[in-house]
Symmetry: C2
Subunit: 329 residues, 2 copies
């Protein structure tokens, strides 16, 4: 019996400079059968995230679909915890149907939020914000948190977690609309447009007049240089991302290491992968904040898996607003 085909987007060409749709091609593949312990998911939503950019630097990944988190329904299961029709989220790939180890899939509860939220505010994106601040931020009430790319999927959750914990929160984003959303809906204490600010040092200083205790860093580059100047004694720099750096030669600059001594700074890079086992604890906490209205989120949902490559490219040009999700359909 021949299986029906499912579409898959494969990475076929390493980008030189900014990534574009030409790095990808659509293929058809037969729907796989699960072996013992495995499940097959009909993906409904696919998460597109800046961290995926690094996979495109590796020749090893050529000819393969990029990995990505998905939400969908079980099509076939040989794992005792899952039955056909169950909604789950898992690490899948850029494809309509993903075969995964059942042990790595998790049920989603659509009573808390729509299924797509498990790729954004209730998923690893939210967990990234939460685990970074929790483990490396050492938040204290009344301190100042600065978030770069603050309207982004991770940044917006980081800023709101700061507010929930009683911090003063400032941030930057790349359009006036995004800045207005930070100040209005999300309750940031200060925010500016880093693309139009005439002087980043001044913009950061006036957003954070008493300096910065915690920098939740998503961007790197010139914004980070300005933020670094205003770090306070004992400041923590939580390095989550460096999106300004992903599409160019490594920029070998952050400020003078002497400042690390005089201000006792701590700078720590981390990945949410190190905190994957905390997802249940996070979802429980975040679900409460969603119910209370203390945690808000915004998604950009692009329909059609064939549009994933172009949508992915927009992550780096800043045209996207909130969490980018593909509705696989």
């Amino acid at each position: 019996m021949s299986s029906p085909d499912a579409r898959q987007i494969r990475f076929i060409k390493r980008p030189e400079g900014p990534v574009g749709a030409e790095s990808f091609e659509i293929f058809s593949m037969p729907v796989p059968d699960p072996a013992t312990g495995e499940v097959v998911i009909r993906n409904r939503y696919l998460s597109l995230d800046p961290y995926m950019r690094s996979a495109l630097n590796s020749a090893e990944n050529l000819g393969r679909p990029i990995e990505g988190r998905v939400v969908g329904q079980i099509m076939a299961s040989r794992h005792p915890d899952f039955r056909e029709g169950d909604w789950v989220f898992a690490m899948g790939r850029w494809e309509q149907v993903s075969l995964v180890d059942g042990a790595a899939a998790r049920h989603v509860n659509t009573n808390i939020a729509p299924a797509s939220a498990y790729l954004s505010v209730l998923g690893f994106t939210g967990l990234t914000a939460w685990s970074g601040l929790k483990h490396y931020g050492a938040m204290h009430e009344g301190e100042t948190l600065f978030v770069s790319a603050a309207s982004g999927a991770v940044g917006s959750v980081a800023g709101q977690i700061g507010k929930i914990n009683g911090l003063r929160v400032a941030g930057c984003a790349g359009t006036d609309d995004k800045v207005a959303w930070l100040l209005g809906e999300l309750g940031f204490d200060a925010a500016f447009n880093h693309r139009t600010a005439p002087d980043l040092t001044e913009a950061v200083a006036s957003a954070c007049p008493e300096g910065i205790d915690i920098d939740y860093e998503n961007v790197g580059g010139a914004v980070f240089d300005a933020v670094f100047r205003d770090m306070r004694y004992g400041g923590r720099i939580v390095v989550c991302g460096a999106i300004s750096q992903y599409e160019r030669e490594p920029r070998p600059c952050v400020p003078n290491i002497g400042d690390f001594i005089s201000k006792r700074l701590n700078m720590r890079g981390f990945s949410v992968r190190d905190h994957a086992d905390e997802i249940h604890q996070y979802v429980e906490e975040a679900a409460g904040w969603l119910r209370d209205g203390r945690l808000k989120y915004r998604e950009t949902i692009v329909t059609g898996i064939e549009n994933a490559p172009a949508a992915f490219a927009r992550l780096f040009s800043g045209e996207n607003f909130g969490k980018l999700v593909i509705d696989v359909g």
Copy 2:
């Protein structure tokens, strides 16, 4: 009754570029009388350290003697713990006689080591190495420790503490003599001359073929850039000093912050001042290592307080070998 005079070196002119003797002048001052709780110390040894360079950037310090740790004998005491003739160490100043709060002075035990050692291996210099590695280094047996300025007063203790804890230890220094001392007497596993190495990246890589787990950073600049490249996953950068940076405009460079994420690096600046209350614990441990021959040290003792300014300048040109101490005489 008029008191005898004592000489004091005051800071009179901020240096433009490398510090020289012209930034200082010798004055005479009357020997002070202690108030209740105070003691007067006839300084025998004065510690000169790179960290003092930052005091010369501040106009507030003009006209005053620079602070520095001293070892000497009590001349007059109005503190119950000290009697005339006791040997003590304390934070004094560049002067023959220092008036200090008795609560901040400590007895030295010259049965363990000569009194001058309380300014080097048994003093805050040693404590700097020990507390930095202990609190921020997270040493594990078999890991690789890299120490820059490894023959220096702090670096040499840091490297030996690494060896005592079962680490592989590599380092760099600025003359072949110093390198030979690291490899010979101190038992470093690898060392190179950073002034003559044709390629620092290659020199670090061949000194640390499996990469670096802990960088005990004293120098900054080009050496640090090379070390940073070879940091291993989970690496710790303990920032103690940046001597290459003290005499120039801040150099706004360390490598790409993306590496912080991919390697989960942690970079922490610290100061021994935060660990002053651990000096007793350190001295106890270090005294044991000195007795066992597991901890060695080297001092350059310059005689005459009038020679302190010129000797201080040599700290930054690299002409000095081991801990620089002035024998006040």
